[in-house]
Symmetry: C2
């Protein structure tokens, strides 16, 4: 039976051998160049989670987007680099026709009941019920229509947007068809924010994540409690320089549980930014 | 001629073949279990930087500490997973006697002159000349004596320290022998902060970085301008849960240039924390 939800369809993998899984791109998840990185991340995480030798839950995942994934089949090869008593290190490579398109390392681990505390605080936001559902991002990337996104701050810069002075976005998000959030879905949500340069440049410009690292702070019990509920996400950038910028995000439950924190380095074409208002003024004067 | 500075001695590598470099542990850099992770990171970065096929500067580096490195020789094997026009993806593995001890992925890239901005702000701190040099951390890890560390906030919790309510550390740092800061040295400084759980637990407990990702925001010109000067570093944690916590750091020049941002996930034994003062009160009452 084929999975009916577009997320499950996109990360469905066939077992080729003990350490190889085959997937295929799905036009539903097309992005600027190749598939949305967040769905590739989910497929990689699912591959490791499906491996019979896997122990524990996802704790950390780094994915390097080395080259665009072309339409069609891809093979994910896995290797357990090291298995310890309570954690396990994986190396993954995604290939098409023998060429490496994506590399990844994953850390899985057992959660232990021990002293715990959260120092970070969720961003302040009105409840999602008081906010309208966004429909701008889906005009740019079709997969966004699979989500219910409600912006608190830093909405996707659509037609006529101005350059923003800050790259912070805060938004509520959930699956539009109310699919429950598991680890692969959480990994995808870590990458759901548009490239921060879009906000600073006043609209879409050529940009793409090169390397993304996510830390999963939630155990299965936290995901069970979340169910298909809203997640509050916030993302910002520290520095744009030399054609790259970094982007950090946090994902929270409504109850203030930090589910994940995520970081990425992004390539961007800064010379494609809209001229700033003061540049116009300077030209006119 | 052997390098005279302990940093250069520790990351000296012999060329074994086109894709293999041999290094050796150096007791000067011993840490809790095996060598200080920051020096292993530097050796891995140097290996990639030494490869004749390498293009550009370090942009991102993820290092997974899979198992403790034993005293003696280690081999670093490298593979360029993908070379693009302006960037290059590397996979590295550090082995001893055939066993993988460390895995890494590195992104090198060309810096382009384009629109730039820094949104993050450096932490407020008095100038380093107004602060005393710390000598507590070096009682715990000998390699700390190779640095000049001046704490603004969140000093290393030595003998008699109490549990802190926050895990933030801000400090000035430079090489004690005034070795100039290059990319390997910068990569090491990203990991110079003690595990954040030490502050929350009131002293050293079993803890170790499992995976570390650093983003380099500086080009060579910024490192040349920095020279052997002080770097202002700040580190904090978002969440301690299930035996793991995350830690994020930023490194700044005195002039407010963000040199690097860095993130890690750390294993810790929370049941080794000191009892809290309120626990004493509860026991007494």
């Amino acid at each position: 039976m084929s999975p009916t939800h577009p997320f499950d369809a996109a990360i469905q993998l066939d077992v080729i051998d003990d350490n190889t899984f085959r997937g295929r791109t799905d036009p539903e998840w097309d992005s600027m160049v190749g598939p949305f990185g967040g769905i590739t991340v989910a497929a990689l995480l699912r591959a490791v989670a499906s491996h019979p030798a896997r122990i524990g839950d996802p704790v950390a995942l780094t994915v390097n987007f080395a080259a665009p994934i072309a339409k069609g089949d891809f093979d994910i090869s896995l290797r357990a680099a090291r298995t310890n008593h309570t954690n396990q290190h994986w190396i993954a490579e995604l290939r098409q026709d023998g060429d490496i398109k994506t590399t990844a390392t994953a850390l899985f681990g057992v959660h232990r009941d021990t002293w715990a505390d959260t120092e970070a605080r969720p961003p302040s936001a009105p409840p999602p019920e008081q906010l309208a559902r966004d429909s701008v991002q889906q005009d740019f990337v079709g997969w966004a229509r699979l989500y219910d996104l409600r912006f608190v701050e830093g909405a996707f810069p659509g037609e006529g947007a101005q350059r923003s002075s800050a790259a912070t976005t805060t938004m509520w998000m959930r699956d539009r068809a109310r699919r429950r959030i598991d680890y692969p879905a959480l990994a995808t949500l870590c990458d759901i924010f548009c490239p921060r340069a879009f906000l600073r440049c006043g609209g879409p410009i050529p940009a793409g994540t090169i390397s993304l690292t996510s830390y999963f702070h939630a155990d299965q019990a936290a995901l069970d409690a979340l169910g298909d509920g809203f997640v509050l996400g916030t993302a910002h950038a520290n520095r744009f320089f030399g054609g790259y910028f970094d982007q950090s995000a946090q994902l929270w439950t409504r109850d203030g549980v930090l589910l994940a924190s995520s970081h990425q380095i992004v390539y961007f074409k800064g010379d494609a930014c809209k001229p700033r208002e003061e540049d116009h003024v300077r030209q006119r004067s």
